[in-house]
């Protein structure tokens, strides 16, 4: 009997050790500096709130930590869309002025691989800037750093929440340098292509409400987009 107990305890310790190894794997999750940060081209930056309640509308399967907003919005409960979040939000410039509308779709990717520290989300942005035109951003995001540094500590906390200062790039591809692909649809952006990086800054997170204080940014390299420098 004592051998069986020793085996069970050993297996439990082994499982915990394996999870600790996966979560705190020093070789995974840290991508460092975004390639656009060292670009000498002008950047167009859009800011948005990462808090669902601050968006125009946010919906998902209704059972996730992040609650749909407004409360009566139609939820995505059907199997093919159950692992998808959809958000419609305002985009503002560096001065906080509303300059556009952003619609984002995010779906959990089957490329997710915990061993490599890849919590992959396939996402697209449809960006509408009145007076200027429209843009489409295609990207794969890696949420591993955010999950490991923000969400997991919140779950381990006795208060079921996390407070701190976390910043990181979410974009991990499909560009060769880990950047998103951008194509212009209309207006001054029509037919133009560019690269982009989406990043996130988190200050508070709750396991009951989801993001409490999270800001998002989309930086688009302007090189091929517009000849002038009147970026917001």
């Amino acid at each position: 009997m004592k051998y069986v107990l020793a085996l069970i305890v050993g297996v439990l310790v082994g499982v915990l050790a394996a999870f600790a190894l996966l979560v705190y794997n020093p070789l995974a999750g840290n991508r460092g500096l975004t390639p656009l940060a060292v670009s000498d081209q002008s950047l167009m930056q859009f800011n948005y709130s990462g808090v669902a309640a601050a968006s125009i509308a946010y919906t998902n399967d209704g059972e996730s930590t992040t609650k749909p907003h407004p409360a009566k919005v139609l939820q995505l409960w059907e199997a093919p869309v159950r692992r998808t979040d959809a958000m419609m939000t305002v985009l503002s410039d560096a001065r906080g002025r509303i300059v556009g509308l952003g619609i984002k779709y995010m779906s959990d990717s089957e490329k997710t691989n915990i061993v490599n520290g890849d919590a992959i989300v396939d996402s697209v942005w449809h960006i509408v800037v009145p007076g200027r035109g429209t843009l489409f951003v295609e990207q794969t995001e890696n949420h591993w750093g955010f999950l490991r540094d923000v969400v997991l500590p919140a779950h381990l906390s006795a208060a079921d929440s996390w407070k701190g200062n976390w910043s990181g790039d979410m974009t991990a591809g499909p560009g060769a340098l880990g950047t998103a692909r951008v194509i212009g649809g209309s207006g001054e952006f029509a037919q133009r292509t560019a690269e982009a990086v989406e990043s996130r800054t988190a200050k508070a997170y709750s396991t009951r409400q989801g993001a409490i204080s999270v800001e998002g940014r989309i930086m688009i390299e302007m090189q091929a987009l517009a000849a002038d420098n009147d970026a917001p």
């Binding site: 619609i103 489409f136 209309s186």
Partner: protein
């Protein structure tokens, strides 16, 4: 007993790693794609949106009614409107989400664009030609496809199909049809 304990640890570590490697963390549910061969090559696929049951968001400026209740449309976006829907295939199964944006611009003219997002397959970014309406359908072109649609080009159409005027839950549907061709196929067709 100590050796058994150590064996248990090794078993636990190896078992967890193997489980994480071979059990998929994400397995998106799929509906069979209903694709037909288009007349002049390529493939055609039809989608539709039931109105009003598939409307997720109706966002518009001014006094236009919005959906869901409680949604507030920013004053700064007075020249834009955007709707978001659930997207269905010809078998009436929900397979994705879609949004339609209308941008009114006095200088550049009106812009109508769709983004269709099919979680297991990819996304489509389509620009509609506002003035190009044939047989009740507005025509447009694919600006960009992602993943499964990455190497495709082609045309797209939207059409309103009226339903039963006496049935509040069946006012009609928006019919969307894609006619895409792979880039390689299109190149060889031109040659």
């Amino acid at each position: 007993m100590f050796k058994t304990f150590i064996f248990g640890i090794v078993l636990g570590v190896v078992g967890t790693i193997v489980a994480v490697l071979f059990v998929p963390v994400v397995d998106q549910a799929r509906e069979n794609s209903v694709v037909t061969v288009a007349t002049n090559g390529g493939s055609a696929e039809a989608f539709h949106i039931n109105i009003p049951t598939d409307r997720i968001v109706v966002g518009a400026p001014g006094d236009t009614p919005t959906l869901p209740p409680g949604l507030t449309w920013p004053d700064e976006l007075s020249t834009a409107s955007a709707d978001m829907y659930k997207l269905r295939n010809v078998h009436n199964a929900v397979i994705g989400v879609a949004s339609r944006v209308v941008l009114s611009d006095a200088e550049q003219g009106d812009v109508v664009e769709w983004v269709l997002h099919l979680p297991a397959r990819g996304s489509l970014y389509v620009g509609m030609d506002v003035d190009n309406v044939q047989d009740g359908a507005r025509l447009g072109t694919l600006h960009r496809g992602t993943r499964e649609f990455a190497k495709t080009q082609g045309a797209f159409s939207e059409r309103w199909v009226a339903g039963d005027s006496n049935d509040e839950l069946n006012r009609g549907k928006i019919e969307l049809v894609s006619r895409f061709m792979s880039v390689a196929e299109q190149t060889s067709a031109v040659q």
